[in-house]
């Protein structure tokens, strides 16, 4: 080291500190301090700069700077003192400036200190600081000091803003400071690279520490936003830079590894870049391996698809890492195929895992698939089963897409699974993940094209000649057309106006319909009957009532004989028509059939749908516009002719008033929609109660509380709708009470679709039952429910439920209850 300069510097420093002390005491302006500072600076440069200072000199320099900071403004010669801070050891300078920020007294004012600090940052002293830190680490600096320095560097923005409160200069805002720090890191890395090229060893761990700490503080975006693009550039062809980069990440302490790795994964523009930046980190570092293979994939699910692609692509790009890729795939499939996971984890996570599986599959190569075909097949079967079991359509579809993809991967020539589902953006996206090829693949589309070419060639029998004839577009006749122009004209056409579409005459009487539907072999007639049935029922309510239950029975068992467009809908509309025409007996029949033997799940769900639609129709006043006419033929009205005449009377009076009144305004008077009684309220109980009766009594073919939870979900939703439509009905209180009991017994059901239904039940209950009755008749049940939803207890829906929709519904229910409370409070006062 610069041993001869040492004593000289020490002396100068001592003198300078003394001079500053004197100047501070004397309150005068003197040449003393200025000369002393000049001497210090020249001695420092003579000693070979701050890096050359030993332990002792540093301590002295620290004392000097501290006294400089304490000296009053007049005692500090302008220009010189700033240079002392800028040229002195950067760690000391930073430390003392930060101290000065907080101290009150005659010395450096906080604003001055901040300005000095700003200059310190702007003039690139940060990189000197980091470099210094690296050097110290290399020479075994004291770890506590290192830690303190690290803390100061990383927490500088917080520190400054705490001290300066509102007057914080923008350079200290995190969004400005950390990019600056990033640039400094790059400079240091550059220096390290230079010195490595010069054959000198260098420690990078201080920079790694800085990076780790910044990342764990949540500033990945700022610092990596600067680092990653530049490093991407530098590592492209330079293996020294690649090694520097690998070391940089490897040296990050374990506790900060996750944040750093995640930051890189999120910000790398592609998996090849990520592979260059991280090297084989996942193989060497246990923590990084855990983060990459477990945490990001299985425990978190908020990352974008690009992140997944980066990560899995990274795993696939090296033979050492490919083993991990296979292991990851197995674990993903295990989760995907676990019925408990399917039941209890949110759909978003399952989508995430499915995406990860598909990306993994896209990276697998033929021999690798060969090696684990059997395992893939087993886990696929498991997974398909529990996905198809789910009552959420999204999950079912997810299962189908993933299973199709796996099967297409493992059976390259044999038959592959093919499900029927509706295409949407999600499935398209999922499938695009599978066909997407890893970035290093040279000609990705060639093999596929080849195959389709072959398939195309296999089809035509005469490949040469029929190329043209394949096109169905008519070839225009050439010359012979002219000769034939008038050829058919001697043949005079007959009248063809009667050539219309063939219509089969549908039966005109309901009883004929029953005959056709039960016994007829004539398919055309059968079709026509199915099509005409609804309107027939609506036009003849009296005739329908005579045979309503029989008709309902036939319709419930009606199977599609021929392929009619919209058969299911036609049948359903007819069923609804029967039910609305004669609600009580038919609803009695349908609800009893819901719990009886020998029906398919589809039929049971049909029953529920029909009940809901009919209830809707009955309760909806505007729907009566059309069928209201039939009311005139109802015996009820004929029995009470008074009704009719009173209407007439009203009309006559209205007309009289109209004729005798002069209106000055031409505005059309608003006609109020004709009001009509809610027909559902009188029959609501018949729809509702029988459905509640037997849900806990399993039949041999039908177990609502067991595996038929899809039907249970539909049942619960149906009850919710019926409850809602029964508003103002007499039976509504009894219904509400029964419903609350029902909800209470099912509240911990594992299927989220069922839970959603239960929550809708509560919502509709709160909306339908009058507030006074709610409190009078079912206070206790209500309080229980409230605690389940989450007002007081810890096992609450609002926060703990894995399903997002359930949480939302629970919250909505709580709000409804809150409103109810407010309303009740408002009324008595």
């Amino acid at each position: 080291m610069a041993a001869p300069a040492g004593p000289e510097l020490e002396r100068v420093l001592r003198e300078a500190a003394a001079a500053l002390g004197r100047a501070g005491a004397a309150e005068g302006t003197g040449q003393g301090p200025a000369a002393a500072l000049g001497a210090v600076l020249s001695a420092l440069s003579a000693a070979g700069g701050p890096a050359a200072l030993g332990e002792r000199e540093r301590a002295q320099f620290g004392a000097f700077l501290r006294s400089l900071a304490r000296a009053p403004g007049a005692a500090r010669p302008d220009g010189e003192w700033q240079r002392c801070f800028l040229e002195g050891p950067p760690g000391l300078a930073l430390c003392i400036l930060l101290e000065a920020l907080g101290s009150a007294g005659p010395g450096l004012a906080p604003r001055e200190a901040a300005a000095m600090l700003e200059r310190f940052l702007r003039e690139g002293r940060l990189s000197a600081l980091l470099w210094d830190g690296c050097q110290q680490q290399a020479h075994g600096g004291c770890p506590e000091q290192q830690d303190a320095l690290l803390n100061r560097i990383v927490c500088l923005p917080e520190h400054v803003s705490n001290k300066l409160q509102g007057e914080n200069p923008p350079v200290f805002f995190p969004q400005n400071y950390f990019p600056l720090l990033g640039a400094a890191v790059l400079q240091v890395l550059q220096m390290i690279s230079d010195s490595l090229r010069g054959g000198l060893d260098c420690s990078i761990s201080f920079v790694s520490h800085v990076l780790g700490k910044v990342c764990i503080h949540g500033r990945q975006k700022e610092i990596l936003g600067v680092l990653v693009p530049r490093l991407t550039e530098l590592t492209k062809s330079d293996c020294i830079w690649q090694r520097i980069c690998w070391r940089l990440v490897e040296c990050v302490p374990e506790r900060w590894m996750e944040a750093v790795v995640l930051g890189f994964v999120q910000r790398a523009p592609g998996s090849d870049v990520l592979s260059r930046l991280l090297g084989n980190l996942v193989v060497k570092n246990k923590k990084a391996q855990f983060v990459v293979t477990q945490k990001v994939l299985l425990l978190q699910y908020g990352h974008t698809t690009a992140v997944l692609q980066n990560l899995l692509g990274y795993l696939s790009l090296d033979s050492l890492r490919r083993a991990l890729l296979l292991r990851v795939l197995q674990e993903l499939l295990e989760t995907w195929g676990s019925s408990s996971a399917v039941k209890h984890s949110p759909p978003e996570q399952q989508l995430y895992i499915s995406k990860a599986i598909l990306i993994c599959l896209s990276h697998l190569k033929e021999p690798e698939i060969e090696s684990c075909r059997q395992e893939l097949l087993t886990s696929m079967m498991e997974g398909v089963k529990c996905h198809l079991d789910s009552s959420l359509p999204q999950l079912r579809r997810l299962g189908m897409v993933v299973a199709e993809s796996i099967s297409s991967k493992i059976n390259t020539e044999g038959p592959v699974l093919k499900f029927e589902y509706e295409e949407d953006d999600e499935t398209r996206e999922l499938r695009s993940l599978l066909v997407q090829t890893p970035p290093l693949c040279v000609v990705p589309s060639l093999p596929g094209d080849d195959r389709s070419e072959k398939a195309g060639a296999a089809l035509p029998l005469v490949p040469e000649s029929n190329k043209k004839s394949q096109t169905a577009a008519p070839v225009m006749p050439d010359k012979e057309s002219d000769a034939e122009l008038d050829s058919d004209d001697d043949l005079v056409p007959y009248d063809m106006s009667e050539d219309k579409e063939l219509k089969i005459k549908a039966p005109v009487y309901i009883r004929d319909c029953i005959e056709v539907l039960t016994g007829s072999e004539d398919v055309d007639k059968w079709e026509a009957t199915v099509k005409a049935l609804e309107s027939l029922i609506r036009r003849n309510p009296a005739a329908t009532r005579e045979v309503s239950v029989e008709l309902a029975k036939i319709l419930l068992h009606l199977e599609e004989k021929t392929c009619i467009e919209g058969f299911v809908e036609l049948r359903q509309r007819a069923q609804v028509a029967v039910l609305t025409t004669d609600p009580i007996p038919v609803s009695k029949y349908l609800t009893s059939q819901f719990y009886s033997l020998n029906y398919s799940l589809r039929q049971r769900m049909d029953i529920l749908d029909v009940l809901v639609l009919a209830a809707q129709e009955l309760s909806c006043p505007k729907f009566h516009g059309k069928p209201k006419h039939s009311d005139a033929q109802k015996p009820r009205i004929q029995l009470l002719p008074g009704n009719d005449s009173s209407k007439d009377w009203r009309r006559i009076v209205d007309e009289r008033i109209k004729s005798k009144t002069r209106r000055f305004a031409t505005r059309q008077c608003h006609v109020e929609p004709a009001s009509s009684p809610n027909q559902f309220s009188s029959v609501a109980g018949h729809f509702f109660f029988p459905l509640l009766q037997h849900f806990d009594r399993p039949l041999t073919t039908f177990d609502l509380l067991g595996e038929d939870h899809l039907v249970l979900g539909r049942l619960v939703h149906t009850l919710a709708v019926l409850m809602y439509l029964a508003v103002n009905a007499v039976a509504v209180t009894a219904m509400g009470k029964a419903l609350l009991e029902f909800v209470w017994t099912l509240r911990f059901h594992t299927d989220s679709y069922v839970r959603q239904g239960l929550l809708s039940c509560i919502s509709s209950l709160l909306l339908s039952v009058p507030a006074e009755l709610l409190l009078a008749d079912m206070t206790e049940e209500l309080l229980e429910t409230q605690s389940w939803l989450g007002a007081a207890s810890f096992a609450d829906m609002v926060e703990k439920d894995p399903d997002g929709d359930c949480r939302r519904l629970a919250l909505q229910n709580l709000l409804l209850m809150e409103n109810l409370k407010k309303k009740l409070e408002a009324v008595p006062s």
Partner: protein, 369 residues
């Protein structure tokens, strides 16, 4: 059994068979027949059938005339029905002369004459093709071929030389067509599509020759909606045309104009032509009102063609431009077959249509040339 003659007097409105419209006829009656028909909307109402032959007591599946004989020969019509009987109708008396029972009460779906009306070929659902000798009142099966084909594809005949016939029929193999020489029953070839082609069963066949003595060619319509032209001697497909989305139910071909027409279970008729390179090309398509064509026949004079529709109607078109000429709405169930007679005198030429309603209607249309 007897055939009923349609009453043609003034009271016909009251006594007409179901399906015809008396009222319109009465309105149209005072019009002078030809002149007015050029005025739009004033065209003549479609004619009624000349005769209706009843009494087969089963749905009619095939019809074949034999009317070209010399004077002492009476014109006859052969009909094959679902109960397995072939009726020979005398067209002078409109009565059944003979009923032939050779297919074990299984539906007969193809009847053809070989030369005169004494040599008959019939094909039935018992998977047999029978050759009959009807001369001098005999009613015996002289020979039979077992096709082992389970579909409804009618066989097709063409005369190679005096007494030598070539017959194409769907064979046992699902997509195969077998070509035999008759009466020797020697197999000429079996036409198989290329491996991997998914044509389905052959649905209709038409054997033809460009001129007498030239190479016989076969047009076959398949279940997948395509028509293929086969060279029978080489056993090779010459051209394929996918002209329908649904099975080709029937086709007919005019070897003079080298144009053919095909119908399927869709609403479309398709006319295609064969060029010098023996490629089939779509020439024109025609949209129908109702779906389903079970038979198409071009009249031997190539002026008009008739189609048998699932919608109970017979449609008549001009062959050259496919100009719609008439829609004959008489039957009350799907029409299964249409056939033209080859009377020497053009004025006597008839059209016969057989239907699932067990009736055969005879029509006289466009007979003045």
């Amino acid at each position: 059994m007897r055939a009923s003659r349609r009453p043609r007097d003034v009271t016909r409105g009251a006594r007409r068979p179901p399906g015809s419209r008396g009222d319109r006829r009465i309105i149209a009656a005072p019009l002078p027949p030809r002149r007015r028909s050029f005025i739009a909307g004033m065209a003549l109402p479609p004619p009624d059938p000349q005769f209706v032959l009843r009494g087969t007591s089963a749905a009619i599946h095939t019809l074949h005339f034999s009317c070209g004989g010399q004077e002492p020969d009476l014109p006859v019509l052969f009909s094959g029905s679902e109960n397995g009987l072939i009726h020979v109708w005398n067209l002078k008396t409109h009565r059944v002369d003979t009923a032939l029972d050779g297919h074990g009460r299984k539906s007969v779906y193809c009847v053809e004459t070989m030369g005169g009306k004494d040599r008959l070929l019939s094909q039935g659902r018992d998977q047999r093709i029978c050759l009959w000798d009807l001369a001098e009142g005999r009613t015996s099966v002289t020979d039979s071929v077992c096709t082992e084909h389970v579909g409804f594809c009618r066989c097709s005949l063409v005369q190679l030389a005096q007494g030598r016939w070539l017959m194409a029929t769907a064979a046992k193999g699902l997509q195969e067509v077998q070509v035999l020489e008759l009466p020797s029953k020697t197999s000429v070839c079996t036409l198989k599509p290329e491996v991997g082609a998914k044509l389905g069963m052959p649905m209709c066949l038409k054997l033809w020759q460009l001129s007498c003595g030239s190479q016989p060619l076969l047009l076959a319509g398949y279940e997948d909606g395509s028509v293929i032209l086969w060279n029978v001697t080489m056993g090779k497909a010459l051209s394929q045309l996918i002209c329908h989305q649904e099975p080709v139910m029937s086709l007919d071909f005019d070897s003079e104009r080298t144009k053919g027409i095909s119908g399927s279970s869709e609403k479309v008729l398709c006319i295609w032509s064969l060029n010098e390179q023996q490629n089939l090309q779509v020439y024109k398509t025609h949209e129908l009102v109702n779906a389903g064509i079970s038979d198409i026949t071009i009249r031997p004079d190539k002026k008009i063609l008739a189609t048998a529709g699932w919608d109970h109607r017979i449609r008549i078109f001009g062959w050259k431009k496919l100009k719609p000429l008439a829609v004959l709405d008489y039957h009350t169930a799907a029409v299964h077959c249409v056939s033209f007679s080859e009377h020497r005198n053009p004025r006597e030429r008839l059209l016969a249509a057989g239907s699932r309603d067990q009736r055969i209607s005879l029509w006289s249309l466009y007979t003045q040339s």
